[in-house]
């Protein structure tokens, strides 16, 4: 029962954070230098369009009233009109969201599978030459700018070897019956490969280092010693007893990694011209398309905050020792 209550209070806390972020965003876009209406109205809109938007967002009303209208609109998923695309921001973002999610999850699944296996292996080979060269190498991948790694992969695998296309999600002029047909086509995979690999190389460090240090901790615990005393094989001790327990915190870090990855996507999507949320944010900011920039930022922030909450909940669900006093 106290568990439920703790979760509820955590969720409430994150709702407050979300509200604070939304408010900061409102203030940033309203208090910027220049015409406050520029946040929603492009001078090239027709008079009727301008008036409709004025009414919808209450742009002629005092700031506090605008704020309330803004919150109300947000609750209904209303984010305004994009200047460049002349379509509702929410719709535009929803068509981009799947691309970003596919890129994020495919790269993270690769990164976590590799990281967990390699981390467990390195813990097992503690103090060996393999470990002593692997760890600085992994730290180096964490020190790389992601977009630079993407550039190098592009130069080698796309421009030099010609194995993969240079950017986008589909060949020029290709059309598919449905989004599903696109996502399951072979071409799509070849377009996905390099950006996903870039992000995976960057992300594998976290699960790898976490898994390794957890394994080192778990291997010292009594139940592992007990398993050894029982005469179980090395494989059985490492995989069935130690690895299963060391895995828990790594799995909860997955949720945090999703939120974190969305930020890295901003640059990697730009390198590979991947039509996702991050690239849209960059393009919208460069083109002063404020409603779109605001919407893209908000969407990324919501995912980050949601993922923090999920990580918290997973952590307390998977590990009953965590108490919420």
């Amino acid at each position: 029962m106290s568990h439920l209550k703790a979760m509820a209070s955590r969720a409430l806390q994150l709702a407050l954070v979300l509200w604070a972020v939304v408010t900061i965003l409102f203030l940033m876009f309203r208090l910027m230098p220049g015409n406050p209406m520029a946040a929603y109205i492009d001078p090239t809109f027709t008079v009727e369009q301008q008036e409709a938007l004025m009414a919808q967002f209450g742009l002629d009303k005092p700031l506090w009233e605008q704020y309330l209208i803004y919150l109300g609109n947000l609750l209904q998923g209303e984010l305004g009109q994009s200047f460049r695309y002349r379509e509702p921001v929410a719709e535009r973002l929803m068509t981009l969201l799947p691309n970003t999610l596919i890129l994020t999850f495919s790269s993270l699944i690769v990164a976590y599978t590799f990281g967990i296996l390699a981390g467990a292996y390195l813990a097992w080979r503690r103090g060996s030459v393999v470990e002593n060269t692997a760890i600085p190498l992994v730290l180096t991948t964490r020190a790389m700018p992601e977009f630079w790694l993407g550039m190098v992969l592009l130069a080698v695998f796309s421009f030099w070897l010609g194995w993969f296309p240079a950017g986008g999600t589909r060949p020029a002029g290709a059309s598919y019956d449905s989004l599903w047909a696109l996502y399951t086509s072979r071409e799509f995979l070849s377009y996905l490969a390099l950006p996903a690999l870039t992000l995976a190389i960057y992300s594998q460090g976290l699960p790898l280092l976490l898994m390794r240090s957890n394994m080192l901790d778990v291997m010292k615990e009594d139940f592992v010693t007990m398993a050894r005393i029982k005469g179980l094989s090395n494989w059985s001790v490492v995989v069935r007893h130690a690895a299963r327990n060391a895995l828990l915190p790594v799995m909860t870090s997955f949720a945090i990694a999703v939120g974190y990855q969305l930020q890295g996507n901003v640059v990697v999507e730009s390198v590979f011209s991947w039509p996702g949320l991050g690239r849209e944010l960059v393009n919208a900011v460069s083109a002063s398309d404020y409603p779109l920039a605001q919407g893209a930022f908000l969407m990324i922030a919501v995912v980050v905050i949601l993922m923090n909450l999920i990580a918290d909940l997973l952590y307390s669900l998977l590990d009953p020792r965590i108490s919420h006093a």
């Binding site: 806390q13 994150l14 407050l16 954070v17 979300l18 604070a20 972020v21 900061i24 940033m28 910027m32 230098p33 600085p136 730290l139 180096t140 964490r142 020190a143 790389m144 700018p145 992601e146 977009f147 630079w148 790694l149 550039m151 190098v152 592009l154 130069a155 796309s158 421009f159 030099w160 240090s213 080192l216 939120g259 969305l262 930020q263 890295g264 901003v266 640059v267 730009s270 390198v271 991050g278 944010l281 960059v282 900011v285 460069s286 002063s288 404020y290 920039a293 893209a296 930022f297 990324i300 922030a301 980050v304 905050i305 923090n308």
Partner: protein, 298 residues
Amino acid sequence: MLDTTLPRPGFVARFFRSLRLPLNDPFAVAGLAIYAIFILTAIFADAIAPYDPTEILYTPNYDLAADLRPGEDGFILGTTSLGRDIFSQIVYGTRSALLIGLTAAFMVALIGSIVGLVSGYFGGWVDALLMRLADVAFGIPFLPFVIVLAAFLEPSIWNVVIAMALVLWRDTGRVIRSQVLTLRSRSYVDAARVSGSSDFKIILRHIAPNILPLSFLYGSIAIGWAILTEASISFLGFGDPQSISWGYMLQDAFASQALAKQAYYWFVPPGVCIILVVSAGFFITRGYENLLFPKLGR
């Protein structure tokens, strides 16, 4: 009586001693050495770089010195598509990288330490307020925030520093707060309080020196973060076009089709420099962790 006869170490010496630099860890020493080399390069950039990094150069036959490969016409790392010397850009890029890295790290460590000290020492509503603020900072996606900020501010290398100061104090602040919570109840702090020291004096004299290594640790992580962030922002085209940085070089290379031209000499060196500086920070951090948390033993 003995105390007074010993020479008292000066402020600088005491400061460095309280930083507890991890000089017995080979990785940390390597990291410090890398820093030293880059700092020297930045200071003596004018003497090291053969050309002005923004100057458009010509070959002896008065052709534009564009897209020259390393070694051609005496350009160590070749030239860019606009005829600028890549090696000179790398050397000058060290300046902006270190400038941004060190100021951002200083700001992050300073704000984080102050928040952590105040929050941990005073507790109560001050603590609750500051920690909720930290929660909000954790909810802000950092890189998108910097990009949106760049939309409103004039392009400048300081945007990254401002954004980091606004958002990234959160990690340092939380860790230092929890450290202060344990220090606050130590008997020497009680003794200081009983003997009439003010809160300000207790924090400054008795608690702050003990968290200095932690601040330095988080500062050295922040240097890497700042350099990576600046590179990303410049790469996306929101940097200061007037100042040469490694991120700007990468953006220039990317936009000038250096990938298709297979001009590795152009875009590999800036990336390697970034990796060297950032991983130097990591190695120092690792040395610190061994020193501060010997029980981890990793």
